[in-house]
């Protein structure tokens, strides 16, 4: 396949001349594909839009048959969610997400450094170990974690979740940050060292600015996974340390209608991650592939 080869169908356009001009045909195919894309995009998004719409309804409108498409929006459900004791849940989620992400970076950045810039021996064995812990099913360890946490009085304690979320995200973060660190040209660091900059100064003023976007992308992924985590929170917390996903579940009551309020809670709970993901789409891809896709 060389670019200089003569086009094989050089005479083709002339032969097709009586039919529609190929450019017009290509344009109409393009319009068709664009329309199809938009239909699918709106279709995929529609459940989210429906969730948002329902959150602005009164309960009776939310559970009507046939579904209500036109209604007077109300903020009643949001008010009920905000005033309905969601504060503790939000605070717990913020602590679990924020502190665990900080810990991940604190442990992960030096580890990524030791696996890329000044590598230890057997780098791939270490990477293998980290990724294999991600494959260990959570259910296989939940029983001892529950029993041990019970014995050291760490059940329903937000710091238990902090430790577990750190362990959950650390392997991912190490892989991801290593891939960013590997892009730092060795010459740059060597040049800084030659100029007489000490190790700490080189790290702070040369390395850190270069890997900062990667660290931000890593933090984003850790925040998403910790904020959304449900299994550990369900099994290891009760009233004091419960997080936002449990608040959503708690709005499902056995008495009365609750769908609109449930949707309001679900929408508010998802909003931080949705907005962050919309803004940082590029970083999201790299993070989700653990750094494999650049």
């Amino acid at each position: 396949m060389t670019a200089t080869a003569p086009p094989r169908d050089a005479g083709a356009p002339a032969a097709r001349a009586p039919r529609r001009d190929p450019a017009t045909r290509r344009r109409s195919t393009g319009m068709l594909l664009t329309t199809l894309t938009w239909i699918l995009a709106v279709g995929f998004f529609f459940p989210v839009a429906w969730l948002a719409m329902t959150a602005f309804k009164q309960e009776a409108e939310a559970q009507s048959d046939p579904p209500t498409f036109f209604f007077t929006p109300t903020l009643d459900q949001f008010r009920a969610v905000v005033e309905g004791g969601s504060g503790t849940y939000v605070l717990n989620s913020v602590i679990a997400t924020g502190v665990s992400t900080l810990l991940v970076l604190l442990l992960g950045i030096p580890a990524a450094y030791a696996l890329s810039i000044r590598p230890v021996e057997k780098v791939s064995d270490v990477l293998f170990f980290f990724i294999s812990t991600k494959m260990l099913p959570v259910v296989a360890v939940i029983v001892p974690i529950y029993v041990i946490a019970g014995e050291i009085h760490a059940l329903d304690n937000i710091w238990t979740l902090v430790v577990l979320y750190t362990a959950m995200n650390l392997p991912l973060a190490v892989w991801m940050m290593r891939s960013f660190f590997q892009e730092v040209p060795a010459e740059v660091l060597e040049a800084a060292a030659m100029d007489g900059a000490g190790l700490l100064k080189t790290l702070r003023s040369v390395l850190m600015p270069m890997v900062a976007p990667g660290i931000a992308a890593t933090a984003l992924i850790c925040v998403i996974f910790a904020w959304n985590e449900f299994f550990f929170a369900l099994n290891l917390t009760a009233s004091r340390a419960a997080t936002v996903p449990l608040f959503i579940v708690s709005t499902m009551t056995s008495e009365g209608l609750f769908l609109a309020r449930l949707c309001a809670a679900a929408l508010l709970a998802s909003l931080p991650v949705i907005l962050a993901g919309w803004i940082a789409q590029k970083q999201l891809v790299r993070g989700l592939s653990m750094g494999a896709i650049k």
């Binding site: 664009t34 199809l36 429906w50 442990l107 030096p110 099913p137 040209p185 959304n228 590029k282 896709i293």
Partner: protein, 317 residues
């Protein structure tokens, strides 16, 4: 998604790996420990938090222990494993795990490839369309589970039954009649954007000059796709399937919230069934033994998968 850096990064990595190889033989002991230093906190933390509980799981799996009955704790050898062999619900949960995981990952990948191809053209509002398409993946899984079970698949006021009613199909109680299918539908909706993003990254990484050359050579769009695009995408598709399997096999939220594993245990997967045994049945020994079995199965699948991962990530020393 800058891909021009790939070649550079690879040559860099080669330079780094040859440097690492040289260093390994010449580094003094003290330097080697200085290099290990930054790695140790993360390594020790991960070992303590993930490996010790697993060793305890193995220990529990050899004992009969019920949380409601403190006196019951005694060594029973492999009895818990014997019970699993006879447990038809466990087998069913294993089958459900495979069906749900493969069903979701394969369908999501097929849809993801289609959507990625559509998005890999330039058209007005492309970035808005992409933003709409990734949103299902960004919704909190708990939120997406209740959205599907309560608002969409609900038998009386759900949107789905109303929609199929427009073309004259009778309402169906989805989560009771087709529990596994309902779960797979919700999961496919959530995971399609993930696959789409990965495949789209692969499409955009295609060297444009190769595509142009193919066009010059007279290859039509179909031919170009099969002989150039698909081989190029292979790595991205493998990666997407693999990561999808790792995440989806642990699905818990959708099952807990959409069907609670029911009716009966018809839609329980292994994570949900083990959860039931541990936290509703309080049977620590049984749940632990099931956990060990799942890990052994995972190791078998994962050892094949990890080789693939390492090829995809191009990990070299």
């Amino acid at each position: 998604m800058t891909t021009t850096t790939v070649g550079h990064a690879q040559s860099l990595r080669r330079a780094q790996s040859s440097r690492a190889a040289r260093d390994r033989h010449t580094l003094p002991r003290a330097e080697r420990w200085r290099r290990r230093g930054p790695l140790l906190p993360a390594l020790i933390f991960t070992i303590v938090v993930t490996q010790i509980p697993f060793l305890v799981t193995i220990w529990y799996s050899l004992r009969s222990r019920n949380l409601l009955n403190p006196g019951s704790d005694q060594f029973v050898g492999l009895a818990n494993y014997g019970d699993i062999v006879l447990d038809s619900t466990f087998r069913q949960a294993a089958v459900n795990s495979v069906v749900i995981t493969l069903g979701c990952v394969v369908v999501a990948m097929a849809l993801g490839i289609g959507l990625a191809l559509l998005l890999d053209r330039s058209f007005p509002g492309r970035s808005v369309a992409r933003t709409l398409l990734i949103t299902p993946f960004l919704l909190m899984p708990v939120a997406s589970s209740v959205l599907w079970s309560m608002a969409i698949l609900n038998p009386t006021f759900g949107l789905f039954n109303w929609t199929i009613g427009l073309v004259g199909i009778d309402p169906v109680d989805w989560t009771s009649t087709f529990p596994v299918l309902s779960i797979v539908m919700a999961l496919v909706w959530q995971w399609t954007p993930f696959m789409m993003l990965l495949v789209l990254a692969g499409l955009q990484a295609q060297p444009k000059d190769v595509l142009e050359a193919a066009q010059m050579d007279g290859a039509g769009p179909g031919r170009t796709f099969v002989s150039i695009t698909l081989p190029q995408l292979r790595r991205y598709i493998e990666l997407g399937l693999l990561l999808g399997i790792i995440y989806v096999v642990n699905t818990f939220d959708q099952i807990y919230l959409m069907t609670a594993g029911g009716p009966g245990t018809a839609s329980a997967n292994l994570p949900f069934y083990i959860y039931q045994r541990a936290f509703l049945g309080f049977d620590v020994g049984q749940a632990a033994a099931m956990g060990v079995v799942v890990v052994i199965a995972t190791i078998i699948v994962a050892s094949a998968a990890l080789r693939l991962i390492f090829r995809s990530f191009d990990v070299k020393e």
